[in-house]
């Protein structure tokens, strides 16, 4: 059946700010979905308060609302826009839940909005534990027995019924703490008791444990005609017990026979059909490694992280097709966009192996437990493709940008056998590297299998890598024969890692390799294993076989992407990469993108003219440059990842657009940076570089406390701390195992922080607006709330900011995008940091000011002058509305102290737009306040470090807001009371840390600075707000200008 013509406009619900478990993949699926609907001629109305996304661009949706994702907020939008239809399955669990709640609240009926795609009934059957179990029973699909318990007795009763092993999963704990697997009644009682204590709602899910089974996922699609297909299956190398999001995953499955593959495929199809899903669905199974028994773990009746991975792994655009199925098409009516000649109703055949590795944030949370379990902790992931497993694994590892060099992690190699074995038994971020190290030390794969339950097939593959590594270590670069070079390259030893193993430079390895003619070939991802001719330009490299890439003679630019999502480098860089591509295409360039993140829009093969799914290493980038005869490379958009490549690319003779390594170095090397600022008379805070502990202490005293110390060349303020007096410094030095010297130390200025993003043509600049932080400097810009345009800077201040920026740009002849962070301390403005690249705030600034920063910058990068592309310059006048940016944390998933400081911890951000700053903040707290209808009390945790006047001020603000200040209560009982509304403490001692974590676990808003609690108290009683699309805001702006002129 062709598309539904009874509807004209469709409301799409996005997934909101990024949190662990719900990240960039929903920007990818949302963008595809919106585009697919627009392609069909529907008017797309989008609500998503995540500004960093590409889906919220006007090119993807006709009308965009940056409004809270709650029933009351979306109802307002529905009342205003009166959409004919709505899609809730593109916005992750948030979208799905919201669609469901809107239905339950009668909003959809009231406004006659048709829910498109998977019907409510199906969502309910998939999501409601009891209904789901009943349906599976009916289909005779096995699910592990489980029960929700509130007491130990209840749990024991259940255990007696079903037997051991049992897994205990406490509800609402931070970082999934408190659970575990019990084999005996004794263990079980202990764990349940602990779990119930941990759980703020005293609740545990007890389930028959199937840990150790193979975890296998299927991505399934169904149309309203009941045609069902599976797009891809994926096998987790980590067995059941470790969340799929945290597992190393391969696609397709490697160790299943056809009988097993088909058995689970058949079950998937039976389930999707019985649920009545229209669109995509993810089904997770646990398969016994020694029999044909299996269990169903979970069904996600929507597109998911796995469906994004499956789309990238196969080339089949699941979200796009799902959106078209939602408006009435059937699979056999839709063309497969990869081949262009076959239909969407077929199952991709792969002729390569895909490996996904998770990227963890533990580097940012040194104190939290880095064990893995049933709660997801990864912030992002990388994917690699090759024709053999070993290279796919090594490519993925090279893409991680963690503390690993190839398959070696120094701190893991330094561990004893016992320590490594301990890492092994528990799931741990370093598990893979520990296995590699143990293999080096001669442990057999059989022993490792017993410890990890990983299939011997995979362990054998790891061993193949280690065996080759041993051989490599025994030789020297000039002794390597052509055949051996071919072998080790085919199996994935990167030039960089070979250089490390052979103690030479990467350039030496590269030269030798090229000289003996060992070059990569590029293979196409075509969904069909070459059976049909394909239209895609989606490639991966392999050191085997004939290349399929024929470079064109077009003028082309290679855009270097930003790699896996991690704290400090998120989806905002993908936004810039994608816009870079789009504007270069507009200018007539052929665009090539290289990136390794499967969750993103940039790695949608329909975005760039050619997509290279490759690690972002020097070797891989240079290889693409050479294979394609690229002359221009863009590194400003791919975050620090791309910038970090600049030096070596330049050394290899590559021309970077708009920037060179010297400029980067002048801004990143603190010594040179300060000199630069001094030369042009731009103030910076006094800073020094210490090369050892002694110097550190002396210099700190010279600067005077408080000071801020940081390791150099880092993004996201990694490792930064504020130190208030010498005692703290000594403590710090003693606590640190290995301080990486040199260390930078600055005078700490707790003043007003603000930042700008600008576009420059080497001389002239354009600053769309100034972003002012609410929290004082000392809270990382990524973790602070911010207001655009700045509200408390005088005109003189603004002029000065503009002037400083102009000076920096002229001095460096800088072209492209630049981000500058300032602090105003005791009336004086200082420059804190200059980033010669796209920043986290670029998408927000672009969206709310209507100045397409990346597009403009791109035009300048290819040689235009600012005056050629826009009539404006300098700092633009303020728009007549306010935008509030707020950080979003994933503390629930990872654990740790919710205290904010100079080290970035948030995983995502949201915005709200309003006539006044107050209304903007009302929207920020709206969904939280809705969830606490009885909240009345603010707990103020006073300790001696707090100034009594300040405490008094806050107490009176609390009272003025008609709330009750609580100063001396037992925090443990308070957090469980309905009246608890917010908790406030900014002390760094252990007690406060615990209390903050406790409050956070109980889903109570925690404030750790006076600025934010003050704002909160100002708006806590204003619950009303209006909704307005970003398009309407801009019209208001336009009207104002008309009026004024």
């Amino acid at each position: 059946m062709p598309k539904d013509t009874s509807i004209q406009s469709i409301l799409v619900i996005g997934s909101g700010p990024i949190v662990i478990g719900q990240a960039a993949e929903f920007d990818y699926s949302g963008t595809q979905g919106c585009r697919a609907l627009k392609e069909e001629g529907y008017k797309v109305i989008l609500v998503n308060n995540n500004p960093a996304t590409i889906m919220t661009d006007e090119v993807n949706a006709d009308i965009v609302y940056f409004e809270p994702l709650t029933v009351s907020s979306v109802e307002k939008i529905i009342a205003k826009e009166r959409p004919d239809g709505m899609i809730g399955t593109l916005g992750g669990q948030t979208g799905l839940n919201l669609a469901f709640q809107l239905h339950e609240a009668g909003v959809l009926d009231k406004y006659n909005v048709k829910l498109l795609g998977t019907p409510i009934e199906s969502i309910k059957k998939g999501e409601d534990r009891e209904e789901f179990r009943a349906l599976m029973m009916e289909l005779s699909e096995p699910v592990p027995e489980s029960q929700i318990v509130h007491t130990v007795d209840e749990a024991v009763e259940f255990a007696n019924e079903v037997g051991f092993p049992l897994i205990i999963r406490p509800a609402y704990t931070l970082g999934g703490t408190g659970g575990g697997i019990a084999d005996t009644l004794e263990e079980f009682k202990e764990l349940v008791k602990g779990g119930l204590d941990e759980s703020p709602i005293t609740q545990c899910l007890i389930e028959k444990s199937i840990a150790g089974y193979k975890e296998v996922e299927y991505e399934v699609m169904r149309d309203h005609n009941d045609t069902c297909i599976t797009i891809c299956n994926m096998e987790n190398i980590d067995p059941v017990g470790i969340h799929t999001g945290d597992s190393i995953v391969v696609a397709p499955s490697q160790t299943l026979t056809d009988v097993e593959y088909q058995m689970l495929r058949t079950a998937s199809i039976k389930i999707i059909s019985a649920l009545g899903i229209i669109g995509g669905c993810n089904i997770q199974f646990a398969l016994d490694p020694v029999s044909k028994n299996y269990y169903l773990i979970e069904v996600n009746p929507r597109v998911s992280r796995s469906s994004a991975l499956a789309s990238k792994a196969t080339g089949y655009p699941i979200a796009k097709i799902a959106a078209k199925l939602a408006v009435g098409y059937t699979l056999d009516e839709l063309l497969n966009p990869v081949t262009g000649g076959t239909y969407a109703s077929f199952e991709p055949a792969l002729d390569y192996v895909v490996v996904k590795f998770p990227r963890f944030p533990f580097d940012k949370f040194p104190t939290v437990e880095d064990t893995l379990g049933t709660q997801m902790k990864a912030t992002g992931e990388v994917m690699a493709i090759d024709t053999n497993l070993e290279r796919a694994i090594q490519k993925a590892v090279s893409s991680l940008e963690s503390d690993n060099i190839g398959i070696t992690v120094k701190k893991i190699s330094a561990k004893s056998d016992e320590e490594l074995l301990a890492l092994m038994k528990k799931g741990n971020e370093g598990r893979f590297f520990a296995i590699i190290e143990l293999l080096r030390r001669g442990l057999s794969i059989e022993e490792l299998h017993l410890l990890t339950k990983m299939d011997l097939f995979f362990l054998q593959s790891f061993k193949t890598i280690v065996d080759l590594e041993t051989q490599i270590k025994k030789t020297a670069l000039d002794e390597i024969s052509v055949d051996f070079m071919k072998t080790i390259k085919e199996k994935g030893f990167s030039d960089g890692y070979l250089a490390f193993l052979l103690n030479v430079t990467e350039f030496e390895v590269r030269e030798k390799r090229k000289q003996i003619g060992v070059l990569p070939s590029y293979r196409m991802v075509d969904t069909c294993a070459a059976e049909f001719e394909s239209q895609t330009s989606y490639f991966y490299s392999s050191y085997f076989g004939k290349s399929e890439v024929v470079p064109t003679t077009n003028e082309k630019v290679l855009i270097v992407g930003s790699g896996p999502i991690r704290i400090g480098q998120g989806i905002e860089f993908d936004y810039s990469s994608v816009h870079g591509i789009l504007s270069l295409q507009e200018e007539g360039y052929e665009t090539l993108l290289i990136n390794n993140n499967p969750e993103t829009v940039s790695t949608d093969f329909e975005v760039a003219d050619r997509l290279y799914f490759e690690p972002l290493t020097l070797e891989d980038v240079l290889n693409v440059i050479e294979a394609e005869n690229v002359s221009k490379v863009l590194v400003q958009y791919g975050g620090q990842t791309a910038i970090n490549l600049a030096k070596d690319l330049e050394a290899a003779g590559v021309t970077l657009l708009g920037i060179n390594n010297d400029v980067i170095d002048q801004l990143e090397d603190r010594d040179r940076f300060y000199k630069l600022l001094e030369e042009i008379d731009v103030p910076h805070l006094p800073g020094k570089i210490a090369y050892n502990e002694e110097e550190l202490v002396i210099m700190a005293n010279e600067l005077g406390f408080p000071i801020l110390i940081r390791p150099s060349y880092v993004i996201g303020g990694k490792g930064m701390v504020v130190i208030n007096h010498e005692g703290e410094l000594v403590q710090f030095i003693n606590k640190q195992i290995d301080i990486g010297f040199p260390i930078l130390l600055d005078a700490y200025a707790p003043g007003k922080e603000f930042e700008i993003d600008l576009v420059a043509d080497g001389d002239k600049i354009l600053i769309p607006t100034i972003v002012e932080h609410v929290e004082k400097a000392g809270v990382h810009s990524g973790d602070s709330h911010a207001i655009l345009p700045a509200v408390s800077l005088s005109n003189v201040d603004k002029k000065e900011v503009e002037e400083f920026a102009r000076k920096i740009v002229s001095k460096l002849h800088f072209v492209g995008l630049m981000n500058i962070q300032f602090v105003q301390h005791k009336e004086k403005i200082y420059v804190l940091e200059v980033n010669p690249r796209a920043s986290r705030t670029v998408p927000i600034v672009s969206k709310v000011t209507g100045i397409p920063m990346v597009q403009l910058a791109t035009k300048l990068l290819i040689g235009n002058k600012l005056s050629d592309v826009t009539a404006t310059s300098g700092l633009l006048p303020d728009p007549p509305f306010f935008t509030v940016k707020y950080p979003v944390f994933s503390t629930h998933k990872i654990g740790g102290d919710p205290l904010v400081g100079p080290e970035m911890k948030s995983t995502g951000e949201g915005i709200s737009i309003a006539d006044t700053v107050e209304e903007g903040f009302t929207k920020v707290f709206h969904s939280y306040l809705e969830s606490k209808p009885a909240g009345k009390e603010i707990f103020i945790d006073v300790d001696e470090s707090m100034n009594p006047d300040e405490v008094g001020k806050i107490v009176s603000l609390v009272q003025k807001a008609n709330l009750t200040p609580v100063l001396n209560d037992d925090i443990k009982t308070w957090v469980r009371s309905e009246k608890a509304l917010a908790y406030f403490s900014f002390s760094v001692d252990k007690e406060s840390e615990k209390s903050r974590a406790l409050a956070c676990k109980n889903r109570i808003q925690v404030f750790s600075n006076t600025e934010m609690i003050t704002v909160f108290l100002q708006v806590v009683n204003q619950r009303e707000f209006s909704v307005c699309s970003v398009q309407d805001w801009k019209n208001k702006d336009f009207l104002k200008k008309e009026v004024m002129s």
């Binding site: 005609n225 009941d226 045609t227 069902c228 297909i229 599976t230 397709p252 499955s253 490697q254 160790t255 299943l256 026979t257 056809d258 009988v259 593959y261 088909q262 495929r265 058949t266 199809i269 490694p289 020694v290 029999s291 059937t330 699979l331 056999d332 000649g341 076959t342 239909y343 109703s345 077929f346 199952e347 991709p348 055949a349 792969l350 002729d351 390569y352 192996v353 024709t387 053999n388 497993l389 299939d455 011997l456 097939f457 054998q460 293979r523 069909c528 294993a529 070459a530 059976e531 049909f532 001719e533 085997f544 076989g545 004939k546």
Partner: protein
Amino acid sequence: MKGYLFLENGEKFEGNLMTSSMKETFEGEVVFYTGMTGYQEVLTDPSYKNQIVVFTYPLIGNYGINEHDFESKKPHVAGVILLECNPTAYHYESKYSLKQYLEKWNIPLLSHADTRSIVKQIRHHGTMQGYLAYDDTNKIEMVAEKFPVADVSTKTIVSYGTGKTHIVLMDFGCKKSIVESLVERGFTVTVVPYDTSYEKVLELKPDGIVLSNGPGDPKQLQPHLIKIKKLLENFPTLAICLGHQLVALALGGDTKKLRFGHRGANQPVLDVVKNKVYITSQNHSYVVDEESLKNTSLTVRFKNVNDGSVEGIAHKSLPILSVQFHPEAHPGPIDSSWIFDDFADSLSIVRREKQYA
């Protein structure tokens, strides 16, 4: 050891060749299979007789060879080409590694070959003859066609199952899973050689006939078409793959050769009666020519969604169900296994009618 694949069009591909004897060359029609699992079933499917199979999935042999998943007693392929052959298999059911199994049956294996490039050759030039050799100079003339059905069909009559309803399965190179699908549905199945006479079949008193899959060009079975036509006119029939092509030929239709065939587990097929798409398992070079059905009493029941080719036919009045794909799966999806249920239903209807008559 280094070895080569030579294609009819002169192309040469290098790899590591493993054979039990150094002197021989191994000839066959070079075809490719795109399924990502199921190599054991493919190797032992008699329809692959005389064919050198290229596996497009690069890691083959991961789960070894077990005792349950054979489609016949021995492998029939003339050779195997793949990228990586896993030397050891750790699957709990595995009895041999793939290499051991091929060695045991003297099937040549060319590994570490650029399979994707070979597939592209076949895609451009169509299915070709080829051979595997150690010598890297092309000097062998391609030998003319053989008659593979005779080699793979049963030599004796064998019965399976204990059901009341009796099916005679005419074996042109039958897969075990077809017999099993029928036995599972409660039939007694008597497998007879492809050249069994009509009279002999009558003696067996069947309630229905199944024409099996098998290797090669259906037109090689010209001498048997009259017999097949008689069977079709007198018994409810289910025909699969080669059997399906024979139905068309016997009732006045024609067959032709596809450029490079359909071999894989992901072929979408539209049922024009139910208006639904099924993902099917396929393995064929020849198809029924749709044009040729015009003046016959056959109609197209199934069509390939990708290329529109005929995937199944029905008769305007006789109870004949004839499919190009493999509803018995193994390898591949079982989405179309309902074909066997429909066949079972058609038998009970006919039986009831017979009782009334």
